[in-house]
């Protein structure tokens, strides 16, 4: 019975983690932590201070990240990048599939910036900013 309760609790915490957990912006361990404004500018193509990494389009964390960091939904972000791409100003962030891939890419590049679920943060990267 106790075992079942623990299992259920873990299940619900798990569900909670997918939908309501904090998103953490991560950078290289030697890099300076960005402000929220900088994160928004980098992901909307206004600043080149960091090289942004996206999660795949279907990942729920992507929509949640843009909503929290920029106040825009994915269609609006697409609109912003369409303008930049077709005017030769830049290409949209590269996609990484999952937190492990993001951490690996960020750990390898001092200029990289990514976002992952708070539960996935480890010592390979610097947790720079929590979006809640």
């Amino acid at each position: 019975m106790k075992k079942l309760t623990t299992l259920l609790a873990a299940y619900f915490v798990g569900i909670g983690a997918t939908w309501a957990a904090d998103i953490v912006v991560v950078v290289h361990s030697g890099a300076q932590a960005p402000t929220r404004e900088q994160v928004a500018d980098v992901y909307l193509g206004k600043s080149r201070a960091y090289t942004p990494l996206d999660q795949v389009e279907a990942a729920p964390i992507r929509a949640e990240f843009y909503r929290k960091a920029t106040g825009r939904d994915l269609a609006q972000v697409k609109m912003v990048w369409a303008r930049l791409v077709f005017t030769g100003k830049g290409l949209p962030p590269k996609e990484s599939a999952g937190a492990a891939a993001v951490k690996k890419a960020v750990a390898a590049d001092p200029k990289a910036i990514g976002y992952i679920d708070k539960a996935d943060v480890d010592t390979s990267v610097k947790a720079a900013l929590t979006l809640d």
Partner: protein, 408 residues
């Protein structure tokens, strides 16, 4: 038997050149591909000479880039595209409404697909951290259905803050001049012609330096351009061949948070307008624009002014303001535009205004559906193939537009 085997080995060795030769071969093929592109019709006839030079410069850049790139990973390519399919109706028999003076025909009482429909294909190639190139072919209704290179340039990133470009580029005359063809990137069906119709050329051939600087969260971009452009202007009942041989442009954009501010000056020395019977003159086109977008509320306004050296014979001012508000996938918007020819202007028409209301619906990601109703007045530039009676009374016309914008 032995001899045959040897011969075979020799022959197969002969068809497979050593590694180094293969790379040279590939490069030559690439250069040839670019050369071939320069002689195919897509590039407009008046620009052919410059376009060929541009293509050759690009081919050289490609060759240099390819050589440098072989050392590391090799070039990375990216292809993308955008387009619009739309129909326009204008409630007049005496004239045709068009979205640009580059168009020789437009919409009347029966639905016209040419006013806004277009397809853009773009290729970006990055050779290494320094060299890249981009090309964009735009197919749209101009003098008939034409395909022309809007962008075709080689770029060198000299430093993180400095880029140099050579080739064909969009002339930065307005706040959103460089993305006005990408309907998906804007809330409206088209940029207001009271402002965006006042500059005849959209692209130029030449060179551009781009400087970027950041002060905290304020981002500054300065573009300095020099080059030339030849275009045909179709307005009212006339056609004018404009030769902008000495173009200089300075464009300054400041971005901070949700705000964008733009200041620009485009100068054309010894401008020739064939068909108007004017001696060459200096043309000065200045503009200021401001935009705000917080994700829900979108506000944008621009003012442009043309001053010409020939006693202001072609002076004109234009401005517009637009407001949109996003509610989920829907963005209703309204736009007012105004055009004022100078007091001593040669141009027909008086002060005119337009009023537009529309809605953008983001059907799904990559696709937007838009509808707009507009009341506009003939200002000598927004209508073509006009009758004398239409021109004589600054006629008011209602214009209806329904279109789909997409990117891929």
């Amino acid at each position: 038997m032995k001899a045959a085997a040897l011969h075979h080995r020799f022959r197969s060795g002969g068809t497979e050149p050593p590694e180094g030769c293969k790379l040279v071969g590939r490069q030559t093929a690439r250069v040839a591909a670019f050369r071939n592109r320069s002689v195919t019709p897509p590039i407009e006839a008046p620009m052919n000479q410059t376009a060929r030079l541009t293509a050759q410069a690009l081919a050289l850049l490609v060759a240099v880039g390819a050589q440098t790139a072989v050392a590391d990973e090799g070039p990375t390519w990216k292809f993308s595209g955008f387009g619009t399919v739309g129909a326009v109706i204008a409630d007049t028999d005496e004239a045709q409404f068009h979205s640009s003076t580059l168009q020789s025909s437009g919409a009347g009482r029966s639905p016209d697909l040419g006013v806004d429909s277009r397809l853009g294909l773009q290729g970006n190639v990055k050779f290494n951290d320094t060299f890249s190139a981009a090309g964009q072919l735009l197919t749209s209704e101009r003098e008939g259905l034409t395909a022309q290179a809007e962008w075709l340039y080689g770029e060198a990133s000299i430093a993180p803050w400095l880029k140099l470009r050579v080739g064909r580029m969009v002339l930065p005359v307005f706040l959103v001049s460089d993305s006005r063809n990408v309907g998906y990137a804007t809330h409206w069906v088209r940029a207001p012609i009271e402002v965006y119709g006042l500059y005849p050329a959209s692209a130029f051939d030449g060179a551009q330096a781009q400087v970027q600087a950041d002060w905290g969260d304020t981002h500054l971009t300065v573009q300095a351009s020099a080059g030339r452009s030849n275009v045909d202007i179709h307005a009212s009942a006339t056609k004018v061949d404009a030769k902008l041989k000495n173009l200089y442009s300075l464009n300054l954009v400041v971005e901070r948070g949700n705000w964008t501010l733009r200041l620009g000056d485009t100068e054309s020395r010894n401008t020739e307008l064939e068909g108007l019977g004017l001696p060459p003159f200096d043309d000065s086109f200045r503009g200021v624009g401001v935009g705000y977008d917080n994700g829900k509320l979108l506000v944008q306004a621009e003012y442009v002014a043309r001053r010409t050296s020939n006693d202001g014979l072609l002076d004109m001012d234009g401005y517009y303001a637009t407001v949109g508000y996003r509610v989920g996938a829907w963005t209703p918007y309204g736009t007012i535009g105004r055009y004022e020819p100078g007091r001593s202007s040669l141009l027909t028409g008086t002060d005119t205004r337009s009023l537009a209301a529309g809605v953008r619906w983001d059907v799904f990601r990559n696709v937007a559906l838009k509808a707009q109703v507009e009341s506009t007045q003939n200002n000598g530039l927004n209508f073509v193939n006009t009758t004398p009676a239409f021109d004589a009374r600054a006629a008011k016309v209602n214009v209806f537009t329904l279109l789909v914008d997409f990117v891929f």
